[in-house]
């Protein structure tokens, strides 16, 4: 049975899709059979970030409605043979998502994959609810900013009550904090919540800190998950995150500002 991992946040635009794409790719790079599903019905985006938008024929809703088989709808990754993407539909209404349908699709995927990564839409409505409902583990993507932290806390409340695991009394969905768009320079100036601040408030284990990085935009321009942008800070941070998820012990990096030279100190901001 595959392990189901939801990437969720409550607040929009914090980096769920960026994280889903790199996390799934990282798992596949380590040899795990991985599927990543876009739950953002109506606002498909994962396909663009994974660079497979021109190969979407059938989508998640087609499979839910029985208009296509999973085999027809799963898109194989450009690079990795063991990574597949299931796109969200662009047009259909959200009523197509039902608990029974989602359970069936996840059950089928579970037979063929080691990991199923669910990229949640923002909010706490149906799409977000169903993305987390069957999860075994959750990556709670948070920015070091008040509204994002508060929303993450709301989501933690939902994970501990409105999931199949919680309802069936089968324990908890395992929660991981993923702090993204972290800017150590601003943290040093006291302008941004630090990683310890956020850890203190949310009180869940930290899986990784992803720095604010120019590589994220350039990678999304090119349609490749940022974890494949070798030698960049964001790729290294996501690579560490995947290793930690798989049980490796890796120190956290990119938590401190790079030392500025004399020139930077005189003329920098």
């Amino acid at each position: 049975m595959a392990k189901i991992v939801v990437v969720t946040s409550g607040k929009g635009g914090v980096g769920k899709t960026t994280t889903s794409a790199s996390f799934a790719t990282g798992l596949a790079m380590r040899g795990h059979r991985t599927a990543v599903i876009d739950f953002d019905v109506g606002l498909r985006n994962l396909d663009l970030i994974m660079g497979c938008e021109r190969r979407v024929v059938f989508d998640f809703v087609n499979v839910l409605n029985g208009e296509a088989t999973l085999r027809q709808a799963l898109i194989k990754d450009k690079q990795l043979d063991n990574l597949y993407i299931l796109a969200a539909s662009q047009t259909r209404d959200k009523d197509a998502l039902t608990a029974e349908g989602v359970e069936r699709v996840l059950g089928e995927l579970g037979k063929e994959f080691d990991y199923v990564v669910c990229d949640s839409p923002a909010g706490i409505e149906k799409g977000a609810h169903l993305a987390m409902y069957f999860a075994d583990e959750a990556l709670v993507v948070t920015n070091p900013e008040v509204s994002s932290v508060r929303d993450s806390d709301r989501v933690l409340g939902l994970l501990s009550s409105k999931t199949r695991k919680a309802e069936a009394g089968e324990g908890r969905v395992k929660e991981h904090l993923v702090l993204t768009r972290y800017n150590p320079v601003r943290v040093d100036k006291g302008e941004m919540l630090s990683v310890d601040d956020v850890k203190d408030i949310l009180a869940i284990p930290l899986l990784g800190v992803i720095p604010e990085s120019q590589a994220v935009l350039t990678s999304s321009n090119a349609g490749a998950p940022v974890i494949t942008a070798k030698e960049t800070d964001a790729a290294a941070a996501y690579d560490d995150l995947v290793s930690r998820f798989l049980g490796e012990d890796r120190p956290h990096r990119f938590l401190t500002a790079e030392k500025k030279g004399l020139f930077g100190r005189l003329f920098g901001t």
Binding site: R150, D153, K189, I201
Partner: protein, 86 residues
């Protein structure tokens, strides 16, 4: 090299610590009854808030519900803070 500080912008207010303090309050409130109280507690709180608001305008944080355990007895403790009379 401390004289270099002369060239830097004056220190801004430490807004991150303000953010942290505000978040602590908000989050503590959101978590009321979530941790070990009965599952109906958050809903009960919401409904109480609606009832109170029929009579007086109170902020979200005005209603506090907690389960206390004393001598093997479970006590539902409610606190409703009324706004200052103006």
């Amino acid at each position: 090299m401390d004289w270099l500080k002369l060239f830097r912008a004056p220190p801004t207010k430490q807004t991150a610590s303000i953010a942290k303090d505000r978040l602590k309050v908000v989050v503590a409130h959101q978590r009321e009854g979530r941790a070990n109280g009965p599952v109906y507690l958050p809903k009960l709180r919401e409904e109480l808030l609606l009832v109170v608001r029929k009579y007086v305008q109170v902020p979200d944080s005005a209603v506090n519900v907690q389960v206390q355990r004393e001598d093997g007895l479970e006590v539902l403790e409610m606190n409703i803070t009324l706004p200052d009379a103006t």
